[in-house]
Assembly symmetry: C2
Homo-oligomer: 202 residues x 2
């Protein structure tokens, strides 16, 4: 190894990021040291302060450094709608793409008994208590269309039913701009059997 | 923007890395905060200490936190051979792939007059002084086979000649395992005209 201990240390530390192996870590380390030392210094500070202060929103489990996240704190959101997602990135995606003005609940994962992730780890007791309060009238289930996401969605719809709350799940089907020919069989079958009337009762 | 200020700050700071845009930065931030906080904390420390302490080797310009890099300091290297490369990553690549036991000189770039990078920025005055000392008998030029790398190589061979030092350049041609059919024209032409006798004088 031709590198000095601290350079080796930096390269190893960079590998904690997903998708970054030895080669990418070297490239990043050289780029930062040769061309962007101020960027590296700010990154160091941002990481430190994020790790020290960012926790979960007390109400929706979103990542935030405050007691409540910006969405839960906002007075302009519809408290009757609650959308359940698996991760903070999903909140961001929905906020960017839709005009949804309700609140969110972030599971930070999905049910996965083999990994020891049950309802308690996903904060579902917290969610149940919230549904029992009676403020929420619609639970929008937006977990991923994967095996675990489906199982989680099923559990969530049972939870809603037990608490007398309407539950809905976001639609799955052929993506916009996609061509039927290239869509995978599972999605196509889902889209076909989940077809909706377009001229009902005309 | 649905994220809290510190989370947004972390995502922005992560974008200082090459090849990391908004989406990757989000993915990295969530991964670190949800799954690897200790990794993030060590990365913060490693970045801080690297930025504060890593400079250039006084003799070869390699990145190191010490006065001299490990290679220059080693007593087991052949001081008569000096290999000139463009970047620290090239030193690493040569160390890994070859049994070379000489020393290196790292330009940290290549001649690029339009960007204001001339001989002084590449430490070529330092290199000339070293060649003038008379210890080096062979200058191995291993700059990249690009337009700028070739210009730099040309400058380096002149420098060697002025100081009565033999200069050589690493061979360029068809890569091992490559098929002629798929090699680009420039490389193939280079390989063809740079052909070497295999049974000289038999």
């Amino acid at each position: 190894m031709a590198f000095s201990p601290r350079l080796t240390g930096l390269i190893d530390a960079l590998k904690c990021m997903p998708g970054v192996g030895q080669k990418s870590a070297q490239r990043i380390a050289f780029h930062l040291l040769e061309r962007d030392r101020s960027g590296a210094a700010s990154l160091s500070d941002a990481l430190k302060s994020a790790v020290e202060s960012i926790g979960h929103c007390k109400r929706c489990r979103m990542l935030t450094e405050n007691e409540l996240c910006a969405i839960c704190e906002s007075s302009g959101r519809d408290v009757q709608q609650l959308c359940v997602v698996e991760s903070p990135a999903d909140v961001m995606a929905l906020e960017d793409a839709t005009g949804y003005r309700g609140l969110y609940f972030v599971l930070m994962g999905h049910l996965s008994p083999l990994d020891g992730i049950g309802p308690a780890e996903l904060g579902l007791d917290m969610l149940e208590a919230r549904l029992a309060e009676g403020e929420v009238s619609e639970l929008i289930i937006a977990t991923n269309p994967t095996v675990e996401g489906d199982a989680t969605a099923h559990y969530l719809s049972d939870l809603a039913e037990r608490n007398g709350v309407n539950a809905s799940r976001i639609a799955h089907g052929v993506p916009l701009g996609g061509e039927l020919e290239y869509v995978d069989g599972g999605t196509l079958s889902h889209a076909f059997y989940g077809r909706r009337a377009v001229n009902e009762g005309r």
